[in-house]
């Protein structure tokens, strides 16, 4: 098997040029970067929330959490900067066809993103240095630009992705873009739902990940105020945003049914355009049959248009060549995303009920187990969402305008770079987690309260001397 798989990949590459490995590489790098991007977007807000509570209520625990989280933030932004740079190279190295034809159109949002990322990095530096230099609220305000830049930067990148789903704002003649309206490119038809969907996802991923760390600590018996505060500051905002996210996602699905019907048909297993379309929960679609799914009659029509008689467009509306390759993957990823969102909603409702009735967090161990895995669940849901939107658009890179095959590089050797990327990213991911664990171990031991992190100042001399005392 291990000997066969490169050969299989190679065969696939020969069939589809370099499209398959190029897509695999883009998926790997983007799938990795998007987790760091989520933390880059939302972690500053969570840190600011902790500092706000600390300042407002003179709560030393919350302030200590904010200080420590901001160190983790420095590491994560630095790693995210690296993986982001890789993506900007890959735009040209893997997809020269896309850039040649539409670079002039989708470059503008990327430029805006670059501006906001620069601001985010600079203010992260100011914030981290400011723990010593700025007092109280002045320091809190120095962190606000990080949070805002994160949100605006995310909007810019999502503008590019949503433009690929619903291209507009330009005219072309003979394969040449002749005029561009940057505002229509930025605020395209899909941006209206994709932007809030992704930003809310970023906040959920970050909030649940932070909560998960402290829930795990509580499960191990560290039942102190520090851990409960850390859990609550992450969990509460994420749980509060979950119902809004479900609403936005539902709205997005209906918009996709209109704007990208083939993607919607793949999400919901709609082979033929018809009325009274059933909803499939789970199930694998193979050779015209759905195996192992739960069928709810008329439900898909109801969801798509609030009535069982709603006509839903199926994938038979386009020729077979214009349909996405692996329908079951799209459908199952969609179901996993929605299912996990509802489970996260339940966890939030459980906590809300206990708080309403007894003014406490649930004491039951299952709740804390749920809390501990909520971060991973949110990440999985978000990754599934990206699979739905990206695989669901295939074979197009720019919907109905350019195929992915036409965009991909004509150079060989993508398999080599793909293998290298997998190795390097595995090391990068492992090191990032190791470093974060190292930080938390140091915090627990109480030494090096102020560890040196990227963007931040170096530790005071006595700390360094203590750190080097080992040899």
């Amino acid at each position: 098997m291990t000997h066969a798989s490169p050969a299989v990949l190679l065969a696939a590459a020969q069939v589809g040029g370099e499209v398959v490995p190029a897509r695999a590489q883009m998926a790997t790098t983007l799938g990795f970067h998007i987790i760091l991007a989520c933390l880059g977007i939302a972690l500053p807000s969570v840190v600011l929330l902790a500092e706000f509570i600390g300042l407002r209520r003179r709560d030393e625990t919350a302030l200590r959490l904010a200080r420590r989280w901001s160190q983790a933030m420095g590491v994560l932004i630095a790693v995210g900067a690296v993986t982001g740079t890789v993506l900007s190279f890959e735009m040209g190295l893997l997809w020269p066809g896309l850039m040649r034809r539409y670079g002039a159109v989708l470059g503008f949002p990327f430029g805006v993103e670059g501006l906001f990322f620069f601001l985010e990095a600079i203010f992260a530096g100011i914030y981290l240095w400011g723990w010593r230099r700025l007092g109280g609220w002045a320091h809190w305000w120095s962190g606000v630009p990080i949070a805002l830049s994160g949100i605006f930067g995310a909007m810019s990148v999502i503008a590019v992705n949503s433009w690929m789903n619903q291209p507009g704002g330009f005219t072309q003649r003979g394969g040449h873009v002749t005029s561009v309206n940057p505002w229509q490119v930025f605020f395209n038809h899909a941006a209206i739902y994709e932007m809030p969907h992704m930003i809310l996802a970023a906040y959920m991923v970050t909030g649940f990940l932070v909560a998960g760390v402290y829930a795990a600590g509580i499960l191990r018996g560290r039942r102190d105020r520090y851990h409960y505060t850390g859990f609550a500051i992450g969990f509460v905002p994420a749980a509060v945003l979950t119902p809004f996210q479900i609403f936005v996602g539902d709205t997005a699905a209906r918009a996709i049914a209109h704007g990208q019907p083939v993607k919607f048909a793949s999400m919901e297993y709609v082979p033929r355009t018809s009325r009274h379309v059933p909803e499939w929960l789970g199930g694998a679609y193979l050779n015209g049959h759905v195996y192992g799914g739960v069928k709810i009659p008329d439900m898909d029509s109801v969801l798509a248009g609030f009535g069982p008689g709603t006509k839903v467009i199926g994938w038979d509306s386009v020729p077979a060549a214009d349909r996405p390759p692996v329908v079951w993957l799209i459908h199952l990823c969609f179901d996993v995303m929605v299912g996990l969102a509802f489970l996260l909603l339940l966890a939030g409702l459980w906590a809300a009920y206990e708080w309403w009735r007894r003014r406490r967090l649930p004491p039951q161990r299952p709740f804390w187990w749920a809390g501990a895995v909520s971060g991973v669940a949110a990440v999985v849901a978000m990754e599934c969402g990206w699979v739905v939107t990206e695989v669901g658009r295939q074979p197009w890179v720019v919907y109905r305008l350019q195929t992915t095959a036409a965009a991909a590089t004509t150079n060989g050797g993508v398999i080599t770079s793909l293998s290298l990327v997998i190795v390097v990213y595995a090391v990068l991911g492992a090191t990032t987690i190791a470093i974060l664990r190292l930080l938390s171990r140091r915090w627990r031991h109480g030494d090096l309260e102020e560890a040196a992190v990227p963007y931040g100042p170096n530790p005071a001399p006595q700390d360094l001397a203590a750190g080097e005392g080992g040899y």
Binding site: A78, G92, G103, I126, G470
Partner: protein, 394 residues
């Protein structure tokens, strides 16, 4: 017109990356050449502390250039990215490894891990400028066709391109050494000051020799560019040469005082900027030499170009003051007692069992560094001459 402005912005971004990022990469070069763990501790500690705390401060210029390039000149961008895919991948590898080093090295306190991170950092610092140099060399010699369908090895392994690669590495080392000389002086460390002074001078000689070699090579590989570099871009070429000589002279004078070192740094940066703009002026208005692709005809629609100019203005207005704020905060910290203490603590840690005060008389005198540095420069020049001869006979 708008395309010319965007071309100017692109060149300005390249200049900033060359000057700021170059000094950054050069730090890695000196890290690599600093010798064994014990001997290299002091210079490595200085390099470590002088790395700007905002990684993107320098690398964001690269991302910025990529975005401007693909947005404003998409056809040329696709051609460059396809033809020169291999050196670009390799340069990217260097950036990833360096960036990872930046993200992690502060947390690594154990010596083997530090050493591994340091070696990765130093090696990748050489990779990126070298391959970037070959990319620029390939573009300048007209090795990139207007429409490219496959990568070309010959494009970036021509003598000119390889020379440009070496020139980039030497220039990075030169900028870093000049910068580090000033840093050492600011901390009142005379030993490190002379250490980096001789390295700066040696790197200046090597970079100067490589520049002349590249120019001579262009005479055969790209006669048009050569004619323009010795024609309308000649003033900039002369400025670059004068700046280089002035830096060597200023370093030799070796005055102390902050103004003196700032002046040296500015002149060094100016010299590098003159080289970049000399190349730009010589090539203008052609984007890809040897093809009919110019700034005007490779340009995106006007609205895109205007939007890019607007982003650039917004960036200048927003990023400039933010940066000033960050640097103010850092320099306030640097003026405090902590920073010097960190450095001396790190130096002291290299000589366990000896109290820091006891080192003073054990330090070698500055003149002991003159020998290796000068020898290095002469040896470097000879090696370069040999490489050039080899490449030309190929």
């Amino acid at each position: 017109m708008a395309a010319d402005v965007v071309g100017g912005i692109l060149l300005a971004g390249i200049t900033l990356y060359a000057v700021l990022g170059g000094a950054d990469f050069g730090g890695g070069l000196w890290d690599l050449l600093a010798g064994t763990t014990a001997r290299g501790r002091a210079p490595r500690a200085l390099i470590d502390e002088s790395i700007p705390p905002v990684w993107e401060a320098n690398h964001v210029w690269l991302v910025f250039d990529l975005v401007i390039f693909w947005t404003a000149f998409p056809h040329a961008f696709a051609a460059v990215m396809t033809t020169l895919a291999l050196p670009l991948w390799l340069a990217l590898d260097g950036i990833v490894l360096r960036g990872a080093g930046f993200a992690f090295r502060k947390e690594l306190t154990r010596l083997p891990a530090q050493r591994a991170a340091g070696a990765t950092f130093a090696f990748s610092s050489l990779m990126t400028p070298f391959f970037m140099g070959t990319v620029i060399g390939a573009i300048a010699t007209g090795a990139v066709p207007a429409v490219a369908s496959h990568a070309s090895l010959a494009a970036w392994t021509s003598p000119t391109a390889v020379l440009a690669g070496f020139l980039f590495v030497a220039t990075c080392g030169y900028l870093a050494a000049v910068y580090l000389t000033g840093e050492a002086a600011r901390r009142g460390d005379r030993r490190l000051q002379s250490y980096f002074t001789y390295r700066a001078q040696a790197a200046a000689i090597v970079a100067g020799a490589l520049s002349l070699a590249t120019l001579a090579e262009l005479h055969t590989s790209s006669p048009v560019l050569y004619a323009r570099l010795t024609g309308r871009a000649l003033p900039l070429v002369i400025i670059a040469g004068v700046c280089g000589l002035a830096v060597v002279a200023l370093l030799a004078a070796g005055r102390r005082g902050p103004g003196w070192h700032t002046l040296t740094r500015v002149i060094a940066a100016l010299g590098v900027a003159a080289v970049v703009w000399g190349w730009g002026v010589a090539q203008y208005p052609v984007l890809l030499p040897g093809t009919p692709v110019t700034l005007a005809n490779a340009g995106a629609p006007p609205a895109t170009l205007v939007a890019l100019i607007a982003i650039f203005i917004a960036a200048a207005l927003l990023v400039g003051p933010s940066f000033a704020l960050l640097f103010t905060m850092q320099s306030r910290r640097l003026l405090g007692p902590g920073e010097q203490g960190t450095l001396s603590a790190a130096v002291a840690a290299g000589h366990t069992g000896q109290p820091p005060a006891a080192h003073h008389d054990r330090r070698p005198s500055p003149d002991q560094h003159r020998g290796p540095a000068t020898r290095g420069a002469v040896l470097g020049t000879i090696v370069i001459a040999a490489v050039i001869r080899r490449l030309r006979h190929r």
